[in-house]
């Protein structure tokens, strides 16, 4: 196999490549945050006139809450009542599975093609 000689990349090209990579990375991480789509689905449940009993706290728990600086039930109510919503649709789950499996399938397929070139050049056909 003929040896592949990679072109030398100029300084401007190198800078552009880094900027493209950074935009993609920061975008992937920040766009869900900016759009308000990211984050846990943990929401506090409002409780009117909460008491330690109505919040399901026994005396030992109350004692620890007080040591932590929560002197009354109202101040701790938001923390205590917040719960994750784990409901999900089967469609969303299937989409997630397809995306993950598809991603690894792309990786393995393209990698194999590139790897065969590497081995052929290194060890000969």
């Amino acid at each position: 196999m003929a040896k592949y000689v990679a072109p030398v990349q100029g300084k401007v090209g190198q800078i552009i490549d880094v900027i493209v990579l950074l935009i993609m990375a920061i975008g992937a991480l920040y766009i869900p945050l900016w759009m308000g789509l990211a984050g846990s689905s943990k929401d506090p449940q409002p409780v009117e006139n909460p008491t330690w009993e109505s919040l399901g706290q026994n005396p030992a728990m109350v004692e620890q809450w007080e040591k932590l600086g929560y002197s009354d039930a109202a101040s701790a109510a938001e923390l205590i009542t917040a719960r994750f919503d784990y409901s999900f649709s089967i469609t969303a789950l299937i989409v997630m599975i397809v995306v993950i499996v598809g991603y690894y399938a792309i990786l393995l397929r393209f990698s194999e093609k590139e790897y065969r070139e590497v081995i052929a050049e290194k060890f000969g056909e």
Partner: protein, 465 residues
């Protein structure tokens, strides 16, 4: 470029021993016991967090076994990136390199956020008005100082890590011994705090969901392989340092869970910023409070320090191979560190440390780690297939192959589902990023990479090619 061409041929210095490897691995991860693991309590309750801790322990044991075998043979900077390059192929290697960089850079950002939060907490306890302290200067200073330390040399960096990691680990042990009832009456109240609905607030689904942050107990231990090119005896030091690190962390994680879940209601523990420090406060001992405050500070610094070390090695290795612009592949002529990679990653860490909530930053780090762990079973299966045991010498051969690979794959699948429960948007966004960036690499960037020159190991031709 002329300078880069001349400096990149200077090798990294081989100065590290097994203790440094242990310190690098445990130093990065020990902060996971000081913060972040407790979000698994929030996702499933205290019992769920303990089960997640042990399942994650099995996951990381598989990771350490697989990693030790491959790394004891592939002793070069870049760790899993270099493994992927030689075993699976360039595109996989590029992705693995990015997993490493993002997992460690996000972890570094999370450490800096926690460092700022701790300073704020101490200021409030000292009489400062709650929430009025500007944490940003402390975050920036911490990252800049550690980057400078990394710039100056790996031996000083990891010796610093060895000392502060040992102190932070000792703090966890002292807290456990002081509160367990061995020497004095125990303040722990597991029975009362974990009774009734507090036992399993989300049922068994919560156990599954808790695996998401369960990874945080150990995330980063695989970073030991990044130092492969700077270790005096890689075949001995890397398996020893990595496996000793996993054992250390399994003990520290269980002790941490035991103390914290016996002192705090799960609703508080599940969202606490500095849970071990809170536990020390609740113990009623000023000495413990000060010691765990110092321990938290040291753990965050040790972790951020190791993260800068590892992320920069991965970025450097990709630059050296032209997967990224070759400018990053330079070694400092005097300090022999990948200084350009170290400097370049500083502002990226700052962007996230100053602008994103900590649970998001941790999730980004965990997701990158999870994608990397999913690669490992594929890696070891292909490694054994292409180079069977008798074909090349291995410094370490992991037992029961392919069982650890299948167990690891199964646990990764379980953790993907756990992340999906509550953080599905980030999961899809991050994988969409990796798909786009993979296409960019395959169709554009790869043209700048020489083909055969990427394969640098003195191995025979792989079987089947």
């Amino acid at each position: 470029m002329a300078q880069a061409q001349t400096t990149e041929h200077v090798g990294l210095a081989r100065v590290l021993g097994p203790a440094h490897i242990w310190a690098l691995g445990v130093g990065i991860v020990l902060v996971g016991e000081y913060m972040g693991w407790n979000f698994s309590v929030g996702k499933g309750g205290a019992y769920a967090a303990l089960m997640a801790c042990w399942f994650a322990g099995i996951l990381y044991t598989c990771v350490a076994m697989i990693d030790s075998e491959v790394t004891s043979t592939v002793a070069a900077a870049g760790g899993q990136y270099t493994q992927a390059k030689h075993i699976v192929g360039p595109l996989m290697a590029f992705n693995v390199g990015l997993y490493l960089v993002f997992a460690y850079t996000m972890l570094e950002a999370a450490n800096a956020i926690t460092f700022g939060f701790l300073i704020d907490t101490v200021a409030t306890m000292s009489g400062h008005e709650a929430g009025s302290l500007d944490q940003r200067p402390f975050i920036i200073l911490a990252i800049m100082f550690l980057a400078w330390l990394n710039y100056r040399g790996v031996l000083a960096t990891l010796t610093f890590n060895l000392v502060i990691t040992a102190i932070a680990f000792t703090a966890v042990i002292v807290l456990f011994l002081s509160t367990s009832g061995i020497f004095t009456d125990s303040p722990l109240r597991h029975t009362e705090l974990m009774s009734g609905p507090a036992a399993m607030p989300y049922g068994w689904l919560g156990v599954l969901a808790a695996m998401h942050f369960g990874l945080w107990y150990y995330l980063g231990i695989e970073g030991t392989t990044q130092a492969a090119e700077e270790v005096r005896s890689p075949a001995r030091s890397l398996p020893f340092g990595t496996l000793a690190g996993v054992m250390t962390l399994a003990i520290a994680a269980t002790l941490t869970w035991y103390v914290c879940s016996g002192l705090m209601p799960w609703e508080y523990l599940g969202q606490a910023g500095v849970p071990l420090f809170d536990a020390a406060r609740l113990s009623g001992s000023t000495f413990l409070m000060v010691f765990l405050g110092i321990g938290t500070m040291f753990a965050t610094l040790a972790s951020a320090n190791g993260c800068i070390n590892d992320a920069s090695r991965a970025w450097f290795a990709m630059g050296r191979d032209r997967y990224l612009p070759g400018w990053f592949g330079a070694v400092h002529p005097r300090y022999r560190t990948p200084y350009r990679a170290i400097i370049f990653l500083v502002p990226i860490a700052l962007i996230f440390a100053l602008g994103a909530p900590i649970d998001q930053v941790i999730t980004f780090s965990i997701l990158s780690g999870l994608l990397e762990y999913t690669f490992m079973p594929l890696n070891i299966i292909l490694f054994r297939r292409k180079w069977p045991l008798e074909s090349i010498n291995r410094g370490y051969e992991h037992p029961f192959h392919p069982l650890p690979a299948y167990v690891l794959l199964g646990l990764c699948g379980m953790t993907f589902f756990a992340v999906f429960l509550g953080y599905g948007t980030q999961l899809v966004a991050m994988i969409a990023f990796y798909i786009v960036v993979s296409l960019w690499f395959h169709f554009w960037r790869y043209r700048f990479v020489n083909r055969g020159a990427q394969f640098t190991m003195p191995w025979p031709k792989p079987r089947g090619y």
